[in-house]
Symmetry: C2
């Protein structure tokens, strides 16, 4: 089972490392990091390089595709090489998935037209540009297309997917292997739960950078 | 505020990418990925390269140190260059932290002697080799030393640390920014919660590989 984790300049690292850490533990996983060209890409803040072994043209029929988000995803919405690759692999994939603003790239490729979908909470309304109906749920399966919310949600999405692919017990084994027993010290991980002042601070910060 | 994220061959990527994704958002963060030599290291499964900009010798007085785990950490317990670096930076750090089996490297450097500490659940008893008292808690602060449990626990540890460093509101802003509102599809993330058959499967798997 081939799993393509797409990476690019301007990616948010946790968007892809969360799902990767789950999906690489599936039985028979042949997981590949793929980028426009083989070699290192740099994260959104310039601090971390992630190395892709394969170029997009080398991975033509993955069973699972994961498209992560990050500030760099905006440019991908107009990148025909990337959009053509997504359209091509989506025709034969078993699962086409995204994390955070990766869903906006799936949308630009035409994958979300007519579907419910999610993305980072601060970008939700943009899904309408691509014919999708935004939903605030954390993991949104629609047939073989699965979108997940912001950044850290890819871990939850990948565990859900692991159960679909390999069964509940295997998925629980992966969860236990990565000791995913989350205990955040605050309950501020969504705009419905965070204090209003914190939500406003973040909305202003994202608006200034968008 | 300088933050040193130590990486090495055989690392588990999520161990460091979780804390990195939180700590890089602290005000005034000067976060560096450091390795024995600048350049790429390869994760435990050989699938992903992570690029360090700095060598250990270039980062001599970080305020925060993060030592992640992975199968490769075992070799570090006997690596004098690494252990000497940890001992040296620990003398001037504000916080010395670990995720997963990174705590066993802190232990080998003498940092945990007489302290309570944690690590991946399957390795807990090994902490006694270094004079530490194992505890199953997810995040274990002991003065300026903070150890965290397996793999994904580094996110929780880093959010706790973010609040200590920059206050609760800032930490909540980071949590909201990465949309860390965990909703795992199963409650199997610790040996106390997972089905017995899953715990046995994982114990056998770890025993075979250790």
């Amino acid at each position: 089972m081939q799993i393509a984790c797409f990476i690019y300049d301007g990616i948010t690292a946790l968007d892809i490392v969360g799902p990767y850490e789950v999906l690489q533990r599936l039985p028979g996983a042949d997981l590949r990091f793929v980028a426009k060209e083989a070699g290192a890409v740099t994260t959104d803040n310039g601090l971390l390089g992630l190395v892709a072994r394969d170029a997009l043209r080398d991975v033509t029929a993955p069973d699972i595709v994961v498209v992560p988000g990050g500030w760099g995803s905006r440019a991908l919405e107009r990148d025909h090489e990337v959009l053509d690759w997504i359209r091509a692999v989506h025709t034969t994939s078993t699962w086409t998935t995204s994390v955070c603003t990766g869903s906006l790239v799936l949308g630009a490729a035409g994958v979300l037209d007519g579907l419910e979908a999610t993305t980072h909470w601060a970008q939700l309304e943009r899904l309408r540009e691509f014919g999708a109906t935004p939903t605030g749920r954390r993991v949104v399966p629609q047939g073989k297309v699965v979108t997940a919310a912001g950044v850290s949600s890819g871990i939850d999405m990948a565990l859900w997917l692991a159960a679909e692919v390999a069964g509940v017990e295997w998925a629980q084994g992966i969860q236990l292997g990565i000791e995913y027993d989350p205990q955040p010290p605050f309950d501020a991980g969504s705009p419905d739960k965070a204090p209003a002042a914190v939500v406003t601070m973040l909305r202003d910060l994202f608006a200034a950078r968008a």
